[in-house]
Amino acid sequence: MINISLNNEPQTIADKILLSEALSQWGLEGTKIAVAINGEFVPRSTYGERRLEAGDLIDIVKPVGGG
């Protein structure tokens, strides 16, 4: 297991898990979200290739009202 940060909350998750699998675990698979890891945008098409590593800072965003 590794420690990561998900939207600034500490999380523990299986080592080398794929981002696509992690999103599924978090109940976010197929929802309208976008992802950045360590401040870098991660395109949706690469979710199945990207493996999470210890210390990764993950941001997951969704649409909100804005000005």
Binding site: N7, N8, W26, G27, L28, T31, K32, I33, A34, V35, A36, G39, E40, F41, P43, R44, D59, I60, V61, K62, P63, V64, G65, G66, G67
Partner: protein, 269 residues
């Protein structure tokens, strides 16, 4: 014979897309998603702004807002609100492009927390990067002429100078700068973005020759947001008509409008 008023035919075109409404409306701060939806309808807006924030899977409160925005049929203009660095703004823009499936971005790079003043240096740098990545950048900028020229230099085709700091409702704080901008940058669409509190201020900006108005708080925080949205829409139309009609020149001395010839009760002594 009935008279049907029509707006001047000259187009409001942004990045090759033409709109009949010159009012861009924000979708935040409404007391309910229904009030937001009704305000969009009454505003007659064809472009709405929206944002991205961290997702808590258990929190579905934003779903209704997103659903209503989609149902509005408006063109989406996602923002990079709150970003304080070029890197943050570029990353959020890339996330927006994927999630909203649009290369339009209202680019905000905040330079100061007190007045949320755009960081001019970060704004120019981020605009250049995003334009190279294929974005159509609508920068939220100050009314500084040289900043606006630099934004055009890096490829922005629309400018969105502030009227006043976001959410202040103070109106057009620096008329000299705004007049100068319009005078020096004639053929680029310029939208007054932020700081307006009353429809009269929007009308004034349009009378000055600005091409459109973007606001959020003045509608969302009105006692009756949908009615205020309509009031702004009417004011923007009125201001545009006035600009197209050509305002009279101001002068110092009074000049009677009723003819002086034939004035009664006047007798040569």
């Amino acid at each position: 014979m009935s008279y049907k008023p029509t707006l001047p035919a000259n187009d409001f075109t942004l990045y090759g897309e033409t709109f009949s409404s010159r009012f861009l409306l924000g979708t935040a701060l409404y007391a309910s998603p229904q009030l937001m939806r009704d305000s969009i309808v009454r505003s007659r807006a064809e472009i709405v702004t929206l944002g991205l924030r961290r997702q808590n899977p258990a929190d579905r409160s934003g779903d209704a807002i997103w659903q209503f925005i989609q149902e509005s049929g408006c063109r989406l203009l996602p923002n990079t609100a709150g970003c304080k660095s070029v890197k943050e703004a570029v990353t959020l823009a890339e996330m927006s492009r994927e999630i909203f499936d649009t290369d339009w971005i209202k680019l905000e790079v905040v330079g100061d927390d007190y007045n949320l003043q755009p960081d001019p240096f970060g704004l120019v740098e981020a605009s250049g990067i995003l334009i190279k990545k294929g974005f159509k950048v609508l920068p939220y900028c100050t009314d500084d002429l040289i900043l606006c020229k630099r934004l055009l230099d890096v490829g922005c085709q629309v400018l969105m100078p502030w009227g006043a700091p976001i959410g202040t409702g103070q109106g057009l704080l620096n008329r000299y700068n705004l007049h100068t901008l319009r005078e020096r940058i004639r053929d680029i669409p310029m939208i007054i973005d932020a700081g307006l509190g009353a429809p009269s201020q929007a009308a004034e900006a349009m009378e000055m020759g600005f091409d459109g108005i973007l606001l959020n708080t003045a509608v969302a925080k009105a006692h009756n947001p949908p009615l205020m949205a309509e009031a702004f829409a009417d004011a923007i139309d009125a201001g545009r008509k006035a600009y197209s009609a050509g305002l009279m020149q101001k002068r110092q001395t009074a000049s009677p409008s009723t003819p002086t010839i034939g004035q009664p009760f006047w007798h040569q002594q």
